[in-house]
């Protein structure tokens, strides 16, 4: 299909290819992941579409299509990433068509939505792609008109030569341009020259969303497609022993009922291969309702698991992970974590001599914080389409990190890489859950067995009780205070089930001469994974509520005290590896102070502040609450963000508003409990998610104006919401909150 004429140096990120049947493609080393899907390939050979780059296509009828490489789950990369391309391409943005790129198995690279990295990674390559295409189109015009390129101008996808009064649109130039050699020295616009990036732009897919078009995997249909569901053990710590499907198979519309083993024995898991249960019962039939009904007729026998060890090769190391046997309960977890707090733990960082400082302290403030497991609950439950034939394995999948699925699919479904094709769909939310693509392998096994196209659907109950949860955490913060109300040492100790959240090099590390951070873990058979700002989402809540209480204890304004500490850390940083830029931290605090009119409001306004840095961006919130009939009402949230240069202010604002709402919801209500391994919450009736009337009445979002390369927004505004809310609730109720979900603690305290 493609004949590579790669004559670029290895350091170059451009690769020029010519396509049989005419046209050309420029691939990128970062994003050399967009293969032309079948439809596009066919279109190409008929010359209807002419490829200029891997993600830009221009037709002779002047249609410009940009393929967005990153999976979309609501962060609006379908708009912001193409904006980067078009800033340099200079096509008519209002007419640019944006489509989701397919997953390219043979050559895929960094197709990743998660960790708030999308913007930073795309920033230069995407603009360069646009600039390269524009220069080639201009060169084509220059050749055609026999004029120097320097005399040409471009606006809205039209190349003009003033002196001769000649104009041509991109469509007319595309075929000639595709035959040129790509320029190697491409100069990018300065930020001051931007006309699209930095302006508020509406969602490119908005119309399809409000129309209810087929965008999601749940909506996907295929000729002859069957519906599949799985049955998993009712409890963590249990596994399938045997089952009887006689009655289920007699149910109308049912094709087959069988068990599948998701991963092979001895399979070495990669970082995102986590799955709760390895043996499942699959029920396959004609329609969703028929499968749901037949599933109830399957009689399954479960047995307890033994402690096992699994190899995990992730994050650059290979280690054995223990999956302990036993049926775990939340109450037991709390006792275990409290016990661990009393045991010696691993020292993660130590500055100065905290022991002496504590022994000499006049006063010690020590507080312990905890948080439960959380379920992601994306609105679209887990689903995946698979059609495996001898020729190829075709998946339609909602997956945040497609590249991480490659070795998993190859190893567990016995498929060679070149037979795997994956169409990426818009995801109905993710929050980290869709980084773990075990369901793609499950769908593959089922399609293989029934030799038909199938769509695997999880119900909400399946999704919630077969989770990859946010871990449960505990941490204590301790401050040594001398006779002059100076804080002389800070000690942090904490852990989690099965992993902790202490980030030893983050603020307030660096601000105290004497500092110690310690951590521990408790193994568990409850599966956990990334959840919007992993680790940070808990540790920020503890740190920011502790600093608030500490400021009060030593008689300082909580917002000013944070700035004071950061100034100290900036002037005389203690220790090495402090993972924050004190200036930018101060920047968001100063901005939120000004915009919220901090310190100058009516005393009836009950407000709390918090700030945090994670995933390369800085966030600060001031939250105003009042109590109404014993329930908190959030009247207003003022947010200050520093995520570098803001690519799409409209989308960015929406992201931050959503993170604030999500933070308030999880802080007040979020919590997954377990009793003898059984998830107590099974659906949205028991698992409370924030609703319309609980959302803040107003959210004011402000961005620090700078020209730093853009960084992420999906995660950073989320963690400090918890602390700001708890601090505001303290002002409103007089009650300090230490254990999430806060509403439960608040209600318990008012009852007693």
């Amino acid at each position: 299909m493609e004949k590579s004429t790669n004559n670029q140096s290895r350091r170059s990120f451009l690769k020029v290819s010519s396509l049989t049947g005419g046209g050309m493609m420029i691939g990128f080393s970062w994003l050399a992941n967009l293969i032309p899907n079948e439809a596009l390939a066919a279109a190409n050979t008929t010359n209807e579409w002419v490829k200029l780059t891997g993600f830009i296509q221009i037709t002779p009828d002047n249609k410009v299509k940009i393929f967005n490489p990153n999976p979309e789950f609501g962060t609006n990369v379908m708009t912001s990433l193409p904006m980067m391309v078009n800033e340099e391409l200079q096509a008519d943005w209002s007419k640019v068509i944006v489509e989701m790129g397919d997953f390219d198995t043979p050559r895929f690279k960094s197709q990743f939505t998660g960790g708030s990295r999308g913007m930073a990674q795309a920033w230069k390559p995407l603009r360069k792609a646009g600039a390269t295409a524009r220069l080639m189109l201009m060169q084509a015009a220059a050749n055609e008109w026999n004029v120097p390129v320097s005399e040409l101008t471009v606006a809205n996808g039209v190349v003009s030569h003033k002196a001769t009064n000649k104009t041509a649109n991109y469509g007319a130039l595309a075929t000639a341009a595709s035959k040129l050699t790509a320029p190697t020295n491409v100069e990018l616009k300065k930020i001051s020259e931007f006309s699209l990036i930095g302006t508020p732009q509406k969602n490119k897919v908005g119309k399809n969303i409000v129309a209810g078009d087929s965008l999601f995997t749940m909506d996907y249909k295929h000729e002859g497609m069957l519906i599949a569901m799985v049955i998993h053990p009712p409890a963590f710590g249990m596994q399938l022993k045997s089952f009887d499907a006689t009655e289920a198979k007699k149910m109308p519309g049912i094709k087959d009922v069988f068990d599948i083993q998701v991963y092979k024995d001895g399979y070495t898991r990669a970082g995102f291969d986590t799955r709760a249960f390895n043996k499942l019962i699959a029920v396959v039939g004609n329609s969703t309702w028929e499968v749901m009904n037949a599933r109830k007729k399957v009689v399954a026998n479960w047995e307890p698991i033994q402690t096992t060890k699994e190899m995990v090769a992730a994050w650059g190391s290979k280690k054995e992970e223990t999956v302990p046997g036993g049926l775990e309960s939340t109450d037991e977890h709390m006792k275990q974590m409290l016990a661990m707090q009393k045991n010696p733990a691993k020292v993660l960082r130590k500055d100065g001599d905290p022991e002496t400082a504590f022994s000499k302290a006049k006063k010690v403030l020590e507080r312990t914080y905890s948080a439960p497991f959380l379920s992601h609950n994306p609105m679209e439950p887990i689903s995946c389409f698979a059609h495996i034939t001898d020729e190829k394995a075709y998946f339609v999948a909602p997956i945040q990190i497609p590249e991480m699925m490659k070795q998993n699919i190859m190893a567990n479904l016995d498929l060679p890489a070149d037979k795997i094709e994956m169409k990426l769909t818009r995801m109905g939310g993710g929050f980290g859950r869709r980084a773990y693509g075990h369901y793609i392998v499950e769908a593959g096994h089922i399609s293989k067995k029934v030799k038909a196209p199938i769509k695997l659907i999880y119900t909400r109950e399946d999704d919630m009780t077969n989770g990859i949860y946010r871990p449960s955490y505990m941490v204590s913060y301790k401050a040594a205070i001398d006779e002059n109300n100076n804080v002389t040492a800070i000690a942090i100790k904490g852990g989690g089930i099965p992993e902790g959240a202490v980030h030893e090099n983050r603020f307030p590390a660096g601000a105290f001469e004497n500092y110690i951070a310690e951590g521990w873990d408790i193994p568990s058979n409850i599966t956990i994974g990334a959840f919007r700002a992993p680790g940070s989402n808990f540790i920020a809540s503890a740190e920011q509520t502790f600093l608030d209480e500490l400021a009060e204890t030593i008689g300082k304004d909580p917002l000013d005290y944070r700035i004071e500490l950061l100034k100290k850390a900036k002037a005389n940083p203690v220790g090495k590896n402090n993972e924050y830029d004190a200036d930018r931290y101060i920047g968001v605090l100063e901005l939120v102070k000004q915009k919220s009119n901090w310190g100058n409001t009516d005393k009836n306004v009950k407000r709390g502040v918090a700030a945090y840095f994670c995933h390369s961006s800085y966030a600060a919130h001031v939250i105003d609450v009042r109590m109404k009939d014993g329930q908190p009402v959030v009247d207003k949230v003022v947010t200050a963000m520093d995520c570098g240069f803001v690519v799409n202010p409209e989308g960015a604002k929406n992201m931050v508003e959503g993170a604030v709402v999500d933070g308030i919801g999880n802080a007040l209500f979020g919590g997954m409990r377990f009793e003898k391994g059984v998830p107590v919450q099974k659906n949205l009736i028991q698992y409370r998610i924030i609703r319309h009337r609980e959302a803040p009445k107003k959210i004011d979002v402000h961005f620090v104006q700078n020209t730093i390369d853009p960084t992420g927004l999906g995660e950073p505004p989320f963690p400090p919401v918890f602390g700001a809310l708890a601090n505001a609730l303290y002002k409103a109720t007089g009650k300090r909150l230490y254990n999430q979900p806060y509403l439960t603690e608040l209600n318990n305290s008012t009852k007693s």
């Binding site: 129309a211 609105m379 929406n654 803040p696």
Partner: protein, 156 residues
């Protein structure tokens, strides 16, 4: 299985399904009207909101046998003409409401029904009428503003 006649978006359909099948799955699996989404199956999230005789209702809780001759309207049926948008949908676009977008058709159906019964809803009335519709991305403020804008535009 039972043969039934349904009236959906002004069109008549013959379906042959288990009478206990929720309307949600008849719409999605049989009639290919996939704008009505599956979220929880227990009437707790509102992703499957449709109109029955113009009133908002969660289609995952409605057995198809209970519908009879009553009129079902889905997101596909609220547009004035093919390719056009309902004023509520337009307001959604103007305020750039959606993030992931999965719940938004249900939200729009609830909003359209609300504005039909209360053309000028207060903030409290919006919160109360919409509280059965969860948006996990947290776009509530924009949803409320879009409903207010749609209400305003219909009075012009």
């Amino acid at each position: 299985m039972a043969k039934m006649n349904l009236k959906v978006n002004g069109k008549k359909y013959d379906v042959d399904v288990d009478p206990s099948t929720p309307v949600l799955w008849v719409l999605r699996d049989q009639l290919n009207l996939i704008g009505t989404k599956f979220g929880c199956g227990v009437g707790a999230c509102g992703a499957c909101t449709i109109h029955l005789n113009g009133r908002a209702l969660k289609s995952c809780q409605l057995p198809v046998s209970a519908v009879g001759i009553q009129e079902i309207t889905t997101i596909e049926g609220i547009v004035p003409a093919a390719g056009e948008l309902h004023p509520v949908q337009k307001a959604w676009l103007e305020l750039d409401v959606a993030q992931c977008g999965y719940c938004q058709t249900g939200q729009i159906m609830a909003a359209v029904a609300l504005l039909k019964s209360k053309p000028n809803p207060t903030e409290e009335e919006i919160e109360s009428a919409m509280t059965g519709n969860i948006c996990r991305c947290g776009t509530y403020i924009r949803i409320k503003a879009a409903i207010q804008q749609a209400a305003k535009s219909s009075h012009k």
